[in-house]
């Protein structure tokens, strides 16, 4: 098991105020190469959970085990290893890339830090391979983040995350700012990562159809807890909680909308 999470809590603390529990106790497991989708409305705590899982924030309670080891009890070396194993990709890809570094320089630096044993030539070969994986043309290598489109930036940040050879990728709304055609390509990329490299994925998204397309399991988050979770097929085809039902009903689905229009226009027999 990669993750065994029991009743995990995450709080925002500000001086002079009681802590605000943004994640109030969630439990899940994630096996090697599995994909878990986390959906839910704005403010439900999805990003907060993602941040805690990538150690950008501490957990405030519960138990979070990675490969059987409690992460709060990690030694310094274990923490460093965890940071390599669990990579994060954000919605705002451009903001997470260094604006003063070309894509080549950013990838090269990541490789130098995480693979000091690689020489220059091997790094060059690896960069070409990563670009190909992420579906980017080599022309982007000498460009800077501001010169790339949103979709290209997003793939560059995937390429950088993959450079580290993680076992888990935590992606927070990686496609919500992108056009449908670019979104399709990123989702196909996510699916390939799992298939071809066996990387597990935790995908945070607003869009249920997106999650349904790539994830084995789904958790529906609402006010800091999982209202419902289970195999994607169960949650999407027969949601049990009212909240999951209302979320599904709010998805603007082309086919469903067209069918509803046709039904409304058909003469009632």
């Amino acid at each position: 098991m990669l993750f065994e999470v029991e009743d995990a809590k995450v709080a925002y603390r500000a001086p002079g105020r009681p802590p605000f529990m943004a994640v109030r106790g969630v439990s899940f497991t994630l096996g090697e190469g599995e994909t878990l989708g986390i959906v839910g409305e704005s403010g439900s705590g999805k990003s907060t959970l993602a941040k805690a899982l990538t150690l950008l924030m501490p957990f405030a309670g519960g138990s979070v085990k990675f490969r059987g080891r409690e992460i709060s009890a990690f030694t310094r070396a274990e923490r460093a290893a965890y940071r390599r194993q669990v990579q994060m990709v954000f919605q705002d890809a451009a903001g997470s890339l260094n604006p003063r570094m070309s894509i080549r320089a950013a990838l090269d630096e990541t490789l130098r830090v995480h693979h000091p044993e690689m020489d220059r030539a091997r790094r060059g070969a690896r960069i070409a391979e990563l670009l190909d994986r992420a579906g980017l043309a080599s022309a982007v290598l000498d460009q800077y983040p501001r010169e790339l489109s949103g979709g290209q930036c997003q793939r560059a940040s995937f390429a950088r995350a993959l450079a580290v050879e993680p076992s888990v990728l935590v992606a927070d709304e990686p496609v919500s700012a992108l056009d449908v055609s670019v979104q399709a390509r990123i989702l196909n990329l996510l699916r390939d990562l799992r298939r071809n490299l066996g990387i597990a994925v935790i995908l945070v998204a607003h869009d249920l159809a997106v999650v349904r397309n790539v994830c084995d399991r789904v958790a529906v988050m609402h006010r800091g807890v999982f209202e419902e979770s289970g195999p994607a097929a169960d949650v999407f085809d027969s949601p049990r909680s009212d909240y999951a039902k209302s979320l599904l009903a709010a998805v603007p689905d082309v086919k469903r909308a067209l069918a509803a229009r046709a039904a409304a226009q058909a003469p009632t027999a």
Binding site: L187, N188, V210, R212, P252, A257, L258
Partner: protein, 330 residues
């Protein structure tokens, strides 16, 4: 009946450092009074510039505009060349905008209530104005409208700010609301509330809506007519049912195929449109879509297809359209 807004052969070109680009090349469409019309396409296709040209918003000093804009609302009627100064008079008097990022529309150092009052048409008595601002906020579904009126934008969440921006747009009592990706930054639940609200208010006030979006699901569920834009031109247009259930232009087909559907087989790869929208100084010759088009033939790169061939109420511009019989097979 005369349409509320009619745009014909709109072009916009910019010259920067001796390099000319034409982000809008040939756009014609109309919005009927009380109608719900959508403009769709990937980012970089010129949708927003087109909508801004209605009130001459694009920076016109280094830009050249061509074509005509006609608007016949209750308080303002204009018929002139695109880019004409007369169009600016429509802003707030007939045409209101809501944008993706509400913070751009709201003044960060002024209370929400006061901003709404300032957007009202002249002649509203002062005393009445403040109460009307609160009632507008209330209609947007904000839980505590009086408190929102006293707030500054930074004290509200993104979804709440978008409701305030909407209240401000409605305060001007427009004939046409132009909503440019108004809900792209919001989650599906909030998105639904904001769009339901626009629907209800449009029905109540008779205001027409021009929705700019890349979300075809929203178009399918809420709009009457759709215009699909690619590389600065309208490539297909017509009633929503027809265009989205039986697209004839390969670009429309491609956009529809790329959307993950709720009933698609799970784990099936999505079909994407290869490549990306080129920058406006590099629109390809011939049919601008040809480098990305699976149906492209030699003729497609040689010359531009005839603009929007009429076919019933629907029009499309393509040498080798998706066959009519095959169009609805997904």
């Amino acid at each position: 009946m005369e349409p509320l807004l009619e745009i014909s052969s709109l072009r916009l070109s910019f010259e920067t450092l001796g390099c000319v680009s034409e982000p809008v090349r040939d756009v014609s469409f109309s919005v009927p009074a009380h109608g719900r019309t959508a403009l769709v396409g990937e980012s970089g296709c010129g949708k927003s510039l087109t909508s801004l040209a209605v009130t001459r918003l694009p920076p016109t000093d280094r830009a050249a505009a061509g074509g005509e804009v006609r608007f016949s609302g209750r308080a303002a009627r204009v018929s002139c060349r695109a880019g004409d100064a007369a169009l600016a008079a429509l802003r707030g008097r007939g045409v209101s905008y809501v944008f993706q990022n509400p913070s751009g529309a709201l003044n960060p150092v002024m209370r929400i209530g006061r901003q709404i009052v300032e957007a009202m048409p002249p002649g509203v008595p002062r005393k009445e104005a403040a109460a009307r601002a609160v009632s507008l906020l209330e209609r947007t579904g904000l839980p505590d409208p009086a408190r929102a009126a006293r707030s500054y934008p930074c004290e509200l969440s993104g979804g709440q700010c978008q409701r305030c921006a909407l209240a401000m747009a409605l305060a001007a009592e427009p004939d046409l609301l132009i909503a440019d990706e108004p809900t792209t930054a919001l989650d599906v639940t909030t998105q639904k509330t904001v769009l339901d609200l626009i629907d209800v208010l449009a029905r109540e006030t008779g205001m027409a809506v021009l929705l700019i979006t890349h979300n075809l699901g929203l178009v399918a569920g809420r709009m009457d007519d759709v215009n699909v834009m690619y590389a600065g031109a309208i490539v297909e247009s017509g009633p929503v049912e027809e265009v989205l259930s039986r697209p004839r232009h390969p670009y429309t087909r491609g956009l529809l195929d790329a959307v993950p559907a709720l009933d698609a087989p799970r784990d099936a790869p999505l079909r994407d449109i290869p490549g990306t929208v080129p920058p406006p100084d590099r629109w390809p010759a011939g049919c601008a879509f040809h480098p990305r088009c699976a149906r492209a033939q030699a003729v497609c790169s040689a010359g531009a297809p005839p603009p929007a061939t009429p076919c019933g109420a629907r029009r499309f511009s393509c040498f080798n359209p998706v066959p009519a019989e095959a169009a609805d097979a997904v």
